[in-house]
Amino acid sequence: MEFIFNLTPLIPLFPLLAFAIIVLFTHRHNRLSSSIAIGGIALSTALGWTLVLATILSGEHAWAEGWQLRVPWLPAGTTVLELGFAVDGFTAAMLFMVPFVCLMIFIYSQGYMKLGQPDQDPRYARFFAYISLFAAGMLGLVVARDLVLLFISWEVMGLCSYLLIGFWSFRKADSEHHIDAAQVVRARQAALKAFITTRIGDVLLFSGIALLYSYTGTLTFRELFRPETLETLQAISLLGMPAVTVIALLVFGGAVGKSAQFPLHVWLPDAMEGPTPVSALIHAATMVAAGVYLVARTLPLFIAGFVVADAPALHWVAVIGAITALLGATVGLAQDDIKRVLAYSTISQLGYMMMGLGLGSLVAGIFHLLTHAFFKALLFLSAGSVIHGVEHGAHIAAHNGHGHGEHFSPNDMKIMGGLRHRMPRTFVAYLAGALALVGIVPFAGFWSKDEILAEAFHLWRADGTLNLPFWVWLAGTLGAFFTALYMGRQLGLVFWGEPRHAAARHAHESPSSMTVPLIVLALFALLFGFVNAPFLGNPLHHLMGNVHEVSEVVHAEAIPFNPTVAGISTVLAVAGLLLGWSLYRNYRAGQVEPFQAALGPVFTVLRNKYYIDDLYQWAIIRPAVWLANFCFNIDDRWIIDPFVDLVGAAGRAASDIARVLDSGVIDRWFVEGTAQLFNAAGRWLRYSETGHVQNYLLVVAVTILLLLGLYLYF
């Protein structure tokens, strides 16, 4: 079995190779490029699943300890920093999901990206290059043995996210495809925003890694989480806290940026400017989950930070997760863009995962990560299908002379309606995804969300006071309700009622290259929850529950199924879903929204995302730009350079004075006088220059003769 594990580095390598091949060689051939990309990820999937199987078959020890490969990488003084690959139960769980979802989305993209674009669009190949690189990054992250490889993959993904969000930023504004100039600008600004925002988190993570490396001399997970290492870290004091707490918080900062947690969540909704498969892959299923993965991987740090001195490193995770969960769910209520709703939903669900981890339950968080990846990818892809259907409808409508020249966004839910008849397969898929998200038995989301809430409930009951787990549970339960509410609203707006626009009226089903992945993912959304169903004995727990065994601080026993929790949340979910659905299923164009009528000013706040974006614009970006200009002015106009020039001018003035002195006195008498003297002498002496070479030679001969004579005889 060992030799199979040795193939691990190949998993990220296949997509990376695909990327290199496309960029260097085949970028002119669209079909070939997409096939290469799909081939690369398919190989990775096959290998990944083989490894999953191998891990499962290897038994408990392999699940907890895993296998690893080390490469000496960075000479540092007398030691060498190593980089490496590792596979354990946790990795296996991730390896099951990541390449597969990638594969599905790649296949879907092959159809999706062709639509509505010219046949020989060079960006088609470029798109596949980018997502291949992304897949390489994500897979690298999953199989990383240490923080170095993890961070490299992390940033590669960030880069791809940046490139893909800005993917439409250089297309022409084009009424044919319903793209306006503003959208182009939005795309590039969204890309920048995403990169810079996550970069802030990354820098925190970077600092955390640097600190960790400084204090421990290693970045390998397993070595970091040894009890003695953790104790060392606890003993060191940094900024008034134990170093481990600081590091944990810094690492969490990275996760906050990547996983779009409050307060760095602002980039994710804007990132929806990217192509829909990208939203599904990067901004729902995989990359944003990387933050959660990171926290889960480094959980011992958080727990160690928690255990000592009551510094609440882990609590922060739970708190931020709860805030984010609620914030995302509420804002989602007030959005019109079909993808933005899903984006806020993603933010909210990522908050759930953080909540789970923040309660110390590794498996709960990751379980939700896995299920969420399937059903949220499903939702996004279905939404893409819907959007595509609407765009197509707009085409037909324009062709028929309806709504010509009228401007609209195909993402706007307000223009849709009644699509369940026109796009039945998409509808079924969407419904499956929505039910999974809302948490209806037996869809996947039910099991995973329930486990998080049960965990919180359990911890609350164990303590008895209104402690943090209680508030987490409350936020989660409320969040579940809001989730159901906005999903109900969305389903009602999109699939029920009458079409509110010619485009929606003429929409029709997408091609099978898009719908087949939808069906496959829908099956997973339905069934995947059973991998950790309590009545099946929590298999996932066994597989990955013990990966942090070595640290002796993480203890992961499965929480038994709690009917109370499940009951409450199911009831709330069904209620919310029905409420939203019933309010919106007969919504008409131009009508005041039912929520707005009910909530009033609160709705406005929600619609404006709690004004957080505006706050950042006002409090951070403008001052930074102002500061930059201020520094530049200091440099160039006000202080430094003028001073330099002044010194120069002073020197010039001094030299002017010297020049007067020089020409008046020194030159006139000393220099010119001497020159005249020599001039006169030269005038006389020049007659010795006869120009006859033999004269000169004769002089030479005579001279030599004389010298010779002198030398020999005197």
């Binding site: 007659y687 220059e689 006869t690 120009g691 006859h692 070479v693 033999q694 030679l697 004769l698 001969a701």
Partner: protein
């Protein structure tokens, strides 16, 4: 060796003197060049003679003679090229008439 070294030197000196005379007194530039060749030959005879009589086991004398011959070749090539070039411009090879450098 039948002939003592000073005889060789004397012959060489005589050849040198003849060459020098040629250099100093010839009006034709090529004639001057001929004189120079004679002087170089005189030097060569000296070199070889010294080698033969003083350091017969060393190679220096012969090697230097070869160098002198090489230099003579280069000198003749460049010198004659100059003369031809001057002749083309001034239609003369008389040294006295090539006095552009005169005061």
């Amino acid at each position: 060796m039948a002939i003592p070294l000073p005889w060789w030197l004397t012959v060489a000196a005589a050849l040198f003197a003849i060459g020098l005379y040629g250099v100093l007194s010839r009006r034709n530039a090529i004639g001057v060049l001929l004189g120079i060749e004679l002087m170089l030959n005189a030097a060569n005879i000296n070199l070889v003679a010294f080698w033969r009589y003083i350091t017969p086991q060393a190679l220096t004398g012969q090697v230097f003679a070869i160098f002198v011959i090489g230099i003579a070749a280069a000198e003749a090539a460049a010198g004659l090229a100059i003369i031809i070039s001057a002749y083309r411009r001034r239609r003369t090879v008389v040294v006295d008439e090539l006095d552009t450098m005169r005061w």
